[in-house]
Symmetry: C2
Subunit: 237 residues, 2 copies
Amino acid sequence: MSDNSTSPQKHTDLSADIAERIRQDILNGSLVADDRLPSESELSEAHGVSRATVREALKRLAAQSLIRTKRGATGGAFVNRQTFEDAYAQMASTAKLLITLNEVDIATACQARFALERGCARLAAKNRQEHHLDAMRHEIDRQKDPELSDEDFCASDVAFHRALVDATGNPVLSWQLAAAVEGIEPLMNMLTYRQRDRDAVISLHEAMVDALEARVGSRLEILMDYLRDQTLRTALS
Amino acid sequence: MSDNSTSPQKHTDLSADIAERIRQDILNGSLVADDRLPSESELSEAHGVSRATVREALKRLAAQSLIRTKRGATGGAFVNRQTFEDAYAQMASTAKLLITLNEVDIATACQARFALERGCARLAAKNRQEHHLDAMRHEIDRQKDPELSDEDFCASDVAFHRALVDATGNPVLSWQLAAAVEGIEPLMNMLTYRQRDRDAVISLHEAMVDALEARVGSRLEILMDYLRDQTLRTALS
DNA sequence: CCCTCATAAATGTCAGACAATTAATGAGAA
DNA sequence: TTCTCATTAATTGTCTGACATTTATGAGGG
């Protein structure tokens, strides 16, 4: 598995090559979480490149948070356990970057966000627990503060919806959706809510919590549609 | 040169530091797509570090496909235009990694996939075009081939659902969902479909295309629920 | 037993060199 | 003039060797 010349093309970017090899070892299970990679010197010898090149490869992996490094006697590069939190952060960052760099318009972003969230409605209604309701009601209370800045209002909105998604009890859903919502946040932050808009959002939020408490997923879906339309109206005004 | 030690903490990891600085320049708009960064030598002088360190920083950014490099006289590092394809690939990779490394069970993954997809149903019904239907019918034809391996059947299934999501006409939805579906593919690949299971899936697919053609989103949602249950039965058998 | 210090192993950083690639330049021939 | 082609300069890619820094471990003395 080591020196098979699987390189189809000529030598372009050795460090990328080596990073990819190690990456595959992690993906296919040869290296599992918290395993220690060989030292940089050993890797350089094993792959027949200089230590500088190995280091560049390792930095690539570190940038994807596939590995972490520790200095000192028992140091080295270790395979990271990919946590849901990590994946969430990484996805949110990608989403944010993509949306800011490509000038996605707010209507498209909104539509995507609410469409995804809508898919969670029934599952959330089925699996929600008390503490999810508590978290959402807490955010609603914050939103009622008229002194709240638009930005903080938006942040509270994100927290509200994150709690809703968490209520599905499905971690994959949680991180996928939470990342999407957070990625869209910069766009939402550009909105200016009039008090009337806020009141509309808040009363919808309250109705949503009630629907969730009563475990009526279909009603939750309808409320989400209202909320989407309300948000779009605010965005386009 | 400008090594005024105004840094609050000890710099552990200069290359990460510099990568972050450049990253911010890209995020806040000081550097826009296709801008050329200063040469490695200039960067090393500007930040008061060696060229090796600068290179490690650049590799980190390259690993996130924030920059690309070109050799030669007019070469250098250039800010990447973040395309939807890039983001999609990155997300799919993250999703795949997360799911394989954390041993997400197939039921959870399935549930997440269908929940997300369900959210697209109505939008897809509204915005679908003829070529989406064509693509989906083409995949259905493939799925009817009894010689098809389980793996190819699964790949065709992914293509079918990707076409469905594309039918929403919303690029953000497309890449979010396509990445999720592809991330879950390794798990789905472990399923073995009996012919009876395939027949059930195929007839559901046909009904879904019909519902999409007729633009009846609510029916599409119901069919998706059936498909989810069918898939879960296959998975647990 | 505890404290201190030397040692070793590993990553982090640096400086300088050379190789490879590529666009621009300029000289020479038609 | 215009085309061709070798030269040149700029830039990334790689290698080598060295030193700095961090950290666990163990030996020695109190």
